[in-house]
């Protein structure tokens, strides 16, 4: 390796170290956004006696989209490991599956949970204007969905660049950033899912 190339790798490593720290600081910042929404949920979903309550929601929908999202994180991890080991095909396939599962999650939320598209066999009861239940559900899942959409867009960009051999074993910060972002969005859902679907007793 020539001196210049070694120098370039050193510069790339420094930049990546800075990028990584920036990314984590951004997540730390976002913690306060999602934390604010969680606080809103626990402040508003209480009855007169101060007991925590939740609306009656379709448990199957919640469980299925959660499983889908968790599975996507697994494939995202596979994808990142693959590029780090130089297995390009594996990297692209796993990334594709991640994006696909992300879209499935989004459709699950939009069609079944939000009921934006009316299907004859799905029953809907809550809209955004239905008091605190509607406001908090749409606020939390909406803010999360915006992050999932950003994540899917990120995946599309990384996938296209991956096909054009932009990433190598040593230089794939783009993939790493995409992966930790995706895991982070997943992690948020792990807190949101019980807050919306499980905690407190259901009221009509």
């Amino acid at each position: 390796m020539s001196a210049l190339a070694a120098d370039a790798i050193e510069v790339y490593r420094t930049a990546t170290r800075n990028n990584r720290m920036g990314m984590w600081l951004f997540f730390f910042s976002e913690l306060f956004l999602f934390g604010g929404l969680l606080i809103t949920r626990f402040a508003l979903w209480v009855d007169e006696d101060g007991h925590i309550i939740r609306p009656e929601l379709d448990q199957n929908v919640g469980l299925i989209v959660t499983v889908v999202l968790l599975a996507s994180s697994y494939f995202m991890n596979r994808s990142e490991v693959a590029i780090a080991n130089g297995r390009k095909r594996d990297f692209l396939v796993s990334l594709w599956i991640t994006g696909f599962l992300g879209v499935v999650f989004l459709l699950g939320v939009v069609i079944f949970e939000w009921g934006l598209i009316h299907l004859p066999f799905v029953e809907h009861h809550i809209g955004p204007t239905d008091g605190v239940f509607g406001a908090v559900i749409f606020g939390m899942t909406g803010m999360h969905a915006i992050h999932v959409i950003t994540g899917v867009a990120f995946i599309v960009v990384v996938w296209r660049n991956g096909k054009r051999d932009v990433y190598t074993e040593e230089r794939h910060w783009g993939v790493e950033a995409c992966a930790i972002y995706w895991h982070y969005v997943d992690l948020v859902w792990i807190f949101f899912y019980p807050a919306i679907y499980l905690i407190g007793h259901a009221v009509h």
Binding site: D7, V11, R17, N18, M21, G22, L25, F26, F28, S29, E30, L31, F32, L33, G36, L37, I39, T40, A43, L44, P128, T129, D130, G131, V132, F133, G134, A135, V136, F138, G139, M143, V157, R160, N161, R164, V166, G174
Partner: protein
């Protein structure tokens, strides 16, 4: 020529984007079978699309779009090749020194706009009864004054931090230059939305946007919510950048307790901006969606809770006060040793006190809500926590006094403003515990006493130090000295005028004058309230005059001022060891730390340039 400026393109894109967003929303509504016009939704989408269109037009996201296409983009240094050098200040530029100036000039502009709103309603308040302002116009101006000045302060803080931090730690630039440019330019559409809200009725229920008034008030509130979302994004991204820069880009040997003290202030400030800003974003987003989509977060009808808004709002807006003042206090600590020719007393204590103020600041927000009706037992912990802030703040005062003690003091304009800042901040600081104490706050809440308190805090913590910083680093930025006589004139008008204004505000407050009310009973305070108001108004106009003198001084001195030597103040800080104005690549060689930053009076330097490595910094 005009079309070559990024700013012009950005503005055109923003106008087009706003119209496009509005039209698309209306068409979509029509197709979905809803009534065509719903100002809440249409204006929100228009404002949002317009804001992003501006960023596209100004060129702040060009490189990132290239990255998305898989292309690497080298960082281009220096002024644009095919255009005059001054155009870089009106276009996307990645040099932190340019961005620092962009921030600072925008800040001064916004400060003058926000200040003139205040002068208009101060003139109205000079006499009892209504003279020339209608009630609606008064409410509009008072809200606009608040947010315009807050935006100006955030910009000024960004200006000082962006210009100074990389120079002070000997870094080539910020860690993320493109993000830096983005974080500045997003303020422009934000600021425009803020001012444009005046044409949509403003935010006439006060700058705090408390529901239910804000969710029922004029549609200008939607533009306010959007504007603060943009400005808040700038805070978050800018502080992230500063944190990474300070934490990773210091030269060898400059450990965290050896950086110039201003960087510690920025570190503490950035921690607040990075996190707390999300809270006001969340609160305003909820307010925005309550208005636009009917989501009932705060409407008690469906179980919502208006007090929740106050909690989330003040979770940001109290720590935000420390965002406004900590950098200014850092400037005070930075300048005092230079003009006292003595080491900074208790460096570690000052550094850690900034951090302590920032952290305790997260636990005190409830002091704004003593009268809101939340659980009374919560008042006591909030009171105690608030009073606790006085401890680290007191540390700073004692350190300043000890730094000056026995020093060989000199009094050029920057030092005068530093001393003025200390005196004014003391006034603001000492009135704090009175308001933090529940028993007295119940009487003073929402009176002009509060107005006097926070104006003293912000003038002492931001305006005076900002002026000191401008005069102090003016030779570094322009290579010329400002006019000393005009600088002193500015100081000797502004300081007594400010004291008169602040005492006047506090006095009418204790007489029972309520804030945000256009008129008052002239018999208040035994009939003296009108005279106090008149004095306050005269003082406010004098402050305005003194700021104009400063602007005149800066503009003319940049052209015809005496050439400044490289280090007119004999400072030890790294930025004064390089030529003025600072060259494109600030440091010709990497810095080596050989001493302590504030050892004035000792022979040994703080930093020297490692000449053997000269040119290496530019190799990348």
């Amino acid at each position: 020529m005009l079309m070559q400026l990024g700013l012009t393109r950005g503005l055109i894109y923003q106008a087009a984007g706003t119209v496009l967003g509005m039209v698309v929303t209306m068409v979509w509504r029509l197709l979905a079978g809803m009534p065509l016009w719903d100002q809440e939704v249409v204006f929100v989408v228009g404002g949002l699309v317009g804001g992003f269109a501006f960023m596209w037009g100004v060129g702040a996201i060009d490189d990132w779009l290239e990255w998305c296409r898989g292309k690497a983009t080298p960082l281009v240094h220096g002024p644009p090749r095919d255009k005059p050098a001054w155009t870089r200040y009106f276009s996307t530029d990645y040099n932190h020194k340019v961005i620092g100036i962009q921030y600072s000039v925008t800040s001064l502009l916004m400060l003058m706009i926000g200040g003139s709103f205040a002068l208009i309603f101060r003139a109205e308040l000079a006499q009892a009864d209504l003279q020339f302002l209608g009630m609606g116009m008064y409410n509009k101006l008072i809200g606009l004054h608040g947010w315009a000045v807050i935006a100006a302060i955030l910009l000024g803080v960004g200006g000082m931090a962006n210009y100074l931090v990389p120079l002070m730690i000997g870094a080539e630039d910020m860690a993320f230059p493109r993000l830096n440019a983005f974080a500045f330019w997003i303020n422009v559409p934000g600021g425009l939305l803020l001012l444009a809200s005046a044409f949509l009725g403003g935010f006439d229920a006060g700058w705090t946007a408390y529901p239910p008034l804000s969710t029922q008030g004029s549609v200008g509130y939607q533009f306010l919510f959007l504007a603060i979302y943009f400005v808040g994004l700038s805070s978050i991204l800018g502080s992230l950048n500063l944190l990474v820069t300070i934490l990773t880009m210091r030269p060898k040997g400059m450990d965290l307790f050896r950086i110039p003290i201003f960087c510690w202030a920025v570190l503490a400030t950035s921690l607040i901006q990075l996190t707390a800003t999300q809270a006001i974003g969340t609160a305003f987003l909820m307010g925005l969606s309550e208005r636009a989509l009917g989501m009932g977060f705060f409407d008690p009808e469906g179980g919502g809770n208006p007090i929740l808004f106050q909690h989330i709002f003040w979770f940001y807006s109290h720590p935000a006060v420390y965002v406004f003042v900590l950098p200014g206090l850092g400037i005070i600590s930075e300048l005092l040793p230079v003009f006292s020719r003595k080491p900074l007393f208790g460096y570690r204590w000052i550094a850690l006190s900034s951090l302590a103020i920032a952290l305790v600041g997260f636990l005190v927000w409830g002091h704004h809500m003593f009268t809101s009706g939340y659980s009374p037992y919560l008042r006591v912990p909030f009171m105690v926590a608030t009073l606790l802030v006085a401890v680290p703040t007191g540390v700073k005062f004692f350190s300043w006094v000890a730094t000056m003690w026995g020093g060989r003091l000199r009094f050029p304009t920057p030092m005068l403003f530093t001393l003025g800042a200390i005196s004014v901040f003391l006034l603001g600081g000492l009135t704090g515990p009175i308001l933090a104490t529940v028993a007295s706050d119940l009487y003073l809440h929402d009176t002009y006493f509060v107005v006097g308190h926070f104006h003293a805090t912000l003038f002492g913590g931001f305006v005076f130090p900002f002026c000191a910083a401008i005069y102090f680093w003016f030779p570094k930025i322009t290579g010329r000295m400002y006019n000393e006589a005009l600088g002193k004139l500015h100081f000797y008008i502004m300081t007594p005028a400010f004291w008169l204004m602040s005492i006047g505000q506090m006095t009418v407050g204790t007489m029972g004058m309520r804030r945000r009310i256009v008129d008052y009973d002239p018999t208040l305070g035994g009939g003296l309230v009108e005279a106090r108001h008149l004095e306050t108004t005269i003082a406010a106009f004098l402050i305005g005059l003194s700021i104009l003198i400063m602007i005149y001084n800066l503009v003319t001195s940049a052209e015809i001022g005496v050439r400044a030597p490289a280090n007119p103040w004999r400072s030890r800080s790294p930025e004064w060891q390089i030529p003025s104005p600072v060259p494109e690549h600030s440091f010709a060689a990497p810095l080596q730390v050989v001493g302590e930053p504030y050892d004035y009076g000792l022979e040994e330097e703080y930093v020297v340039m490692d000449e053997s490595q000269a040119g290496h910094a530019q190799a990348h």
